[in-house]
């Protein structure tokens, strides 16, 4: 039990580093936000100073950092300069869109890649193995934005089966009442199947794009890990004792092979979060990636800072969970 606590505590230094880094990154961005605010020619240098003081920019870096931390404690992520809205609110409205897309694609990628990798490892050099190899190589070679564009061209322009790539839901449809923020969950909850179906059609292409991106490393890793375990000595012992193939593959090989894969899931998830920015741009998806990019272009640092913080926080949380999961399966980690 204490090891779980210890593992959780071990993220604290990283978290502290993340806080410092997000703070510093936005402070070295060019452009003075106060000047940006004061671009109105009617404003005098005194006005600019007043804005600067209001934003706390006249204080020392250390003081600014403490102010930043103090605000964070209250969930205050600052104000967006370009919209004048609190960043926390804007983030909350956009986070579900990104989260739904990422989780959808993540589950899709896991559902395809793990069976594929296992099947490829069980029959080396068979057609499944070749397919796995092709997918793994292509998946890492095609940029996500190209995948997205190709899918749009094929399914929207040529085949006409996909809806126009303009966000989560047709603008003429009503959103179901927000419970989780995930349309694919809120729709069925409200019994609104038409909206659910429309949302599903919208998420399919961007989800597929992201899934293809995540599929390749996962399938490759599963295959390699499974091959590695299958050639290990304890599998030979299991065969020597005449255990059934089913038992050997499922109980002996699969569970052991999944340990490194589960640990790497956190990494994959993080990559997907990064790829979000590109996919959201291609599909006009109203998520936090697109939001972060727009604020980056307009040098609006509070949303960017919040974005970085949320991303790093999710990364740490996902890694913690996958580590603990792997630790629960692996007695050597001493978690149970």
């Amino acid at each position: 039990m204490s090891r779980i606590v210890w593992r959780i505590l071990s993220t604290v230094p990283t978290l502290a580093g993340v806080l410092i880094a997000t703070f510093l990154i936005t402070r070295v961005l060019p452009g003075d936000p106060a000047v940006f605010f004061a671009s109105n020619p009617a404003m005098s240098p005194e006005d600019i100073e007043r804005v600067r003081a209001a934003l706390g920019l006249d204080k020392s870096l250390i003081d600014q950092f403490w102010i930043y931390l103090g605000a964070l404690r209250h969930g205050d992520l600052g104000l967006s300069i370009s919209t004048g809205q609190p960043v926390a609110t804007e983030m909350l409205t956009r986070l579900p869109a990104s989260a739904e897309l990422t989780v959808f694609a993540f589950l899709l990628a896991i559902a395809v890649s793990i069976p594929l990798g296992v099947a490829a490892a069980l029959k080396p050099d068979s057609w499944v193995d070749q397919l796995c190899r092709i997918i793994a190589t292509m998946g890492v070679s095609v940029p996500t934005f190209v995948t997205g564009l190709l899918l749009i061209y094929l399914f929207y322009y040529i085949l006409g089966v996909a809806p126009e790539p303009t966000g989560r839901l047709d603008p003429f449809m009503f959103k179901p009442p927000t419970v989780t923020g995930f349309l694919l969950i809120d729709g069925p909850l409200a019994g609104d199947w038409a909206t659910t179906w429309a949302a599903f059609k919208q998420i399919l292409l961007p989800g597929l794009t992201m899934a293809i991106f995540a599929l390749a490393p996962l399938a490759r890793m599963t295959r390699a890990s499974m091959l590695n375990v299958l050639s290990s000595e304890f599998i030979r012992t299991a065969r020597a004792n005449g255990l059934s193939r089913r038992k050997i593959v499922m109980t002996y090989a699969f569970r052991n092979a999944m340990l490194p894969v589960v640990t790497s899931l956190g990494m994959t998830f993080s990559y997907m979060l990064g790829a979000n920015v590109l996919v959201e741009k291609v599909f006009a998806w109203p998520g936090i990636g697109a939001y972060a990019m727009n604020s980056l272009i307009s040098l609006d640092y509070a949303p960017l800072q919040a974005f970085m913080l949320i991303m790093a926080g999710i990364f740490l949380a996902v890694n913690l969970v996958t580590d603990l999961l792997a630790g629960l399966v692996d007695p050597r980690a001493g978690l149970n």
Binding site: S232, E233, F234, R236, T237, A238, R239, A240, N241, G242, L243, S244, R245, K247, T251, Y252, R255, N256, L259, V329, D330, P331, R332
Partner: protein, 323 residues
Amino acid sequence: MSANPLLSVRDLTLDFRSRHGTVHVLENVSFDIAPGEIVGIVGESGSGKSVTAFAIMGFLDKAARVLSGDIRVQGRDVMAMSTRERDLWRGKEASIIFQTPRTALNPIRTVGQQIGDVIARHTPASPTEVQEKVLQAMRQVRIPDPERRMGAYPFELSGGLCQRIGIAAALACHPHLLIADEPTTGLDVTTQAEIMELIRDTARAKDLATLLITHDLALASEYCDRIVVMHAGHVVETAPVAELFARPRHPYTAGLLGSVPSLVDSIQDLRAIPGSLPDLRRADLPPCRFADRCPRHHADCDIPGLRLEGIAPNHLVACRVPL
């Protein structure tokens, strides 16, 4: 060779196909083991002793090609078995244990579960019966406090205990043949003695035909009834232990005995065998693969058709000019 062997290997010849040509791994390997007998295959690395064991258990990989030979256990042709038949045969009729006992066990399954898997596979039993049989199997290999140990994972046990678990799993379904492939390599001397005594006592008590594969002549001499000496894929000599050590007839056996530290009194008495193993990829391997290293090399040695032949009761040797 014994009248009613439990295991009989006859003229086993096999090679490996590799990128660098065909490796002639085994040629005309023959030997028997009677029930209750412990036979040691002794040889240096590359002599083909492990491959022989793997061939018996049906563990050869795809690169291996059996050219001829016949392996029978209790009169049953092992090589003619289907995959399914062999799966049901392994662990029930014949078992093998390996070196590096810790890595031979599944790291994330308790040792009790692993023994239980074998029992459940080969004998119809309820979970509680399996549990009881697991404890029985653990007691049989003298594991202290089996009730507590059955819940342990391999990493929590010492190497010696892991090997006992391996033996317990191998013997859980009371097979008639046990192959031990270097079972004590990597274990400490004191642990080695305990494991070997366990194997010997079990073989005696259960009338188990046991094949011990080892590079350690002294170990084989202490625990085996009969020894099969292999060199470069040939069986060069086989004889009861006392006779083999008292009067080795093959020059290679004699050379091997002269190089074992425990058999000599001073370092000056130590005799090394000159040269090294022939390259088994050669197409023109001589009839006697020891010929190039042999101090007694004779023109007759190059005549093909060298066979293992009886030279005294129970003593066979493959040499034209035996000592």
